[in-house]
């Protein structure tokens, strides 16, 4: 009996490889580095080619106590959330985070308005507490970010962090600092593949190297635009494999941030008695969102709950076996 031939995709392009973190020999103080990207096929199609660098899981921490996070989430994280350094350490030592993603939400004028100096000190404390590479996000307030992030970039000089985010309307300041300090950048675009590419072009036209760029095409959680996010990521991966150099950046997904925004994750048992165990709903929401987006082609999964982190790391291991 004749077997059907395997339908193998043949691709001209590959994703860029981005190295995050620098060890002592590389001019930093990290004990480990992370490499993402480099894929030459659609995700996890082992018969077309191996997964060059498996997706990684970063855990999200804040520079302030996450008062508005749901209780099941903060319970799982414990008292460590009171100190970013402690929190980061716990994520790495106990929960196995590959990287730490520090969100400087406390610098936002509406959330404490922490000074650039304070933010830089927080960055330093986290770097001192853990050996894994660091992702640094601003507070999504353009003007404040333009004051805060340059100071953080400077404070972390040589550590090859990933700093974000640059947008098509606000990128010049951050690009020039990250270029000088050796960091990588996250380019943010609002679920639009064309704008994602435009951000990459604008940043690269300032002389920023393409292999230091990560794309954040925005994430939608299950039930909250997941299919849009999926479709955009899939199209961007296909464009990259088709040889589009301006679309060949690895993708970062803010899984925890979006999943824990969902009503189904946040609502307490009293508010939504029909939705099931309130301690597990958010975890499941994170896992469902993350496992779907892994299939679309994601490289850095930023998550919040230790149990979802463990579950997704397991999924990644199985998919790349």
């Amino acid at each position: 009996m004749k077997m059907l031939e395997e339908a193998k995709g043949k691709w001209a392009g590959a994703l860029n490889e981005v190295v995050i973190g620098a060890t002592k020999e590389q001019g930093g103080t990290r004990t480990s580095t992370v490499t993402v990207g480099g894929e030459k096929t659609l995700p996890f199609l082992a018969y077309e080619g191996p997964t060059k660098n498996r997706p990684v899981v970063a855990m999200e921490i804040l520079d302030r106590v996450p008062e508005d996070w749901p209780k099941p989430l903060t319970d799982a994280l414990g008292d460590a959330v009171k100190s970013p350094a402690e929190w980061a350490k716990k994520c790495v030592d106990q929960f196995g985070a590959d990287l730490i993603c520090l969100k400087l939400q406390g610098t936002h004028p509406d959330f404490g308005n922490a000074s650039p100096q304070a933010a830089a000190a927080t960055v330093k404390s986290v770097l001192a507490a853990v050996g894994v590479p660091l992702i640094i996000w601003g507070s999504d307030h353009d003007e404040k970010d333009n004051e805060v992030l340059p100071r953080c970039s400077e404070a972390a000089k040589g550590e090859k962090c990933v700093i974000g985010a640059v947008k098509e309307d606000n990128y010049k300041t951050l690009v020039s600092f990250c270029l000088a300090d050796g960091h990588s950048l996250i380019g943010l675009s609002p679920i639009d593949i064309n704008i994602a590419k435009q951000v990459n072009i604008l940043v690269s036209e300032m002389g920023f190297p393409l292999d230091r760029l990560v794309m954040y095409p925005t994430t939608g959680a299950l039930g909250y635009g997941l299919e849009y996010a999926y479709s955009i990521q899939e199209r961007s991966r296909i464009a990259a494999l088709g040889g589009d150099k301006m679309m060949s950046m690895p993708v970062i997904c803010m899984i925890g941030q979006e999943a824990w925004r969902a009503k189904e994750a946040r609502a307490s048992a009293e508010e939504a008695p029909g939705l099931g165990d309130e301690n597990m709903r958010g975890v499941f929401w994170e896992i469902a969102t993350a496992s779907a987006l892994l299939q679309a082609g994601s490289d850095i999964m930023v998550m919040r709950h230790p149990e979802s982190v463990a579950a997704i790391k397991n999924v990644i291991t199985k998919l790349t076996k």
Partner: protein, 651 residues
Amino acid sequence: MKTYSVTFLPEEKTVQAAAGKSILEAAIVAGIPVNSVCAGEGVCGKCRVLVKSGKVEAEPNSFLTRRDIQRGMALACHTYIHGDVVVEVPLESRISGVPQLASEDAIRFGRISERVGEGAAFAHAPLSGKAYLELPLPNLTDNIPDQERIYRELSRHREMPTMHIGLAVLQKLPELLRESGWKVTALLGYRGRTTEVMEVEPGDTSARHLGIALDVGTTTVVAHLVDLNTSETLTTKAKYNSQISLGDDVISRIMYSRTGERLKQLRDMVVGDINDLITGLVMDVKAKFHDVTYVVCAGNTTMVHLLLGLNPANIRREPYVPCAATLPVIRAAEIGVKINPRGLLLALPCVSSYVGGDVVADVLVTGMTDSEELSLLIDLGTNGELVIGNADWLVCCSASAGPSFEGGGITCGMRATTGAIEHISLKPDGRIDEYSVVGGGKPVGICGSGLIDAIAELLRVGCIDRRGRFVKTECGNRLREAETGEREFVLFPGKATALGKDIVLTEPDISNLIHSKGSIYMAAECLMAHVDMTFDDVKHIYIAGGFGNYLDIERAVEIGLLPDVERSRFHFVGNGSVQGAKMALLSQEALTYLQVRIAAAMTDFELSSDHKYMNEYSSCLFLPHTNIEKFPSLRGKYGKPAQAEGARARA
């Protein structure tokens, strides 16, 4: 209700207005042309007036700075009269000046004598005819009725289809024939398959035989007076459409026209413009209104509806259904157009709600349907229309480009009239190298072609990035922060301008133009994809529309408005609308061709439901395009090579 007097300066024209009426309403009554892009909705900020004295109440708005308000500046549409007031309408808020007529580039297409007449594509056979008749006197052996006697004589000289005659003419016919000694001139009007004896005049008037070709545009109305015997264009005039004060684009006009009274108001405005133009034309050549016997007009579907008083409401609503596409021949007097009272008026057929008779006329003028070679027509305006095809087929679509090509929605934007910067080039440091102003003199503002130049040049010298945002380090002291918090680039400092006010460009200005150019380019791409072809297959690209004439093709490609193909493939059509109307006026064959081979043969492709348009539009919101491969001649012109620049910011 209490009324107050409102005096407008500098005209010193005073009108009475009821308490609580807006200054804009009073201005319309007074016939003072005030710019109002948004039809008085209070969202465009263009109807600025200076309240010199008197009591008014103004609604707060975001367009005026504190200094403006202290000076007495107000928005005419949202400032209400509560006392006798004196208002000055400054130059910047006026719809004034005379629009430019087609440039020299368009002359090739303007010479319609090459296409109409002996040995040309279309035989000379105007829609209106004059036949001098010396009728045989009736007697007992030849006693057919007067009317039939005229028909018989007419048929003797030419092949006549079915004829008919109006009651008013019949009523005076017996006396007229006998008083004129049976020597009369019959005025014939072409009405499709029938010919009407519009009028019978005593004696021989056949030497004086005039017609009008009209382009009824959303922005401008252009009229040509044509000698129907010789095909010669005797004189031409243009004027802004008075409806502008009730909205800049067709959508705002449709929205305004929602009551019968307002529909009539709009019709009266454009008819008034047409009559002004006709009066001027007729006076120029010392002719009589009586000698003008036929008007052919071309306009977009909405303008034709408004001219004929047809309700345009459904043009705007899905599924976008006009009242009529093929319009009946009417007596011009029925809508108030002043020519010979028995004279006829025909509007060229439209294709769909957003592809009108103006585009059909453009196609006729380009001659693109004569050739097997593929041509693309782009009519640039507030509403852009595109047609692709050849002798065998035609597919068209329309794309709403917004008013920025006409200077609308641009801080210092204006139409291409006296004082508008129409071309500009910059030195490497972003300072003005060369520029030209319509009518010479100091600039007042910037029109579409100048804006395209400015943006292409700012991009070339690095003052803006490909997204259209200012690059602070390159702009130097030309960039400043306005009171509104917006950053603005000073193109011309106040001392160099006619109004003493700086001419600036803001990021939202640039963004508006990018959206306009993006919608045209995207429409062109979708149209090409729809017929499964590429721009390389297109042998000729015709640029039509008043604005098109002054366009610098190179700059238009640099910003991604036009496709990057060999520049020799581009041709300017000029005002194809009025030229096409004129061809139809002069040749029944041309009219039939236009109706059958163009309007009826054109397939309308609706872009609003096209997935490609939705998915890829944002890729066009970049200079020239997100995918630079589509603009091969511009490749490698932007940005710095990776890591060539170090850390400038910290230094």
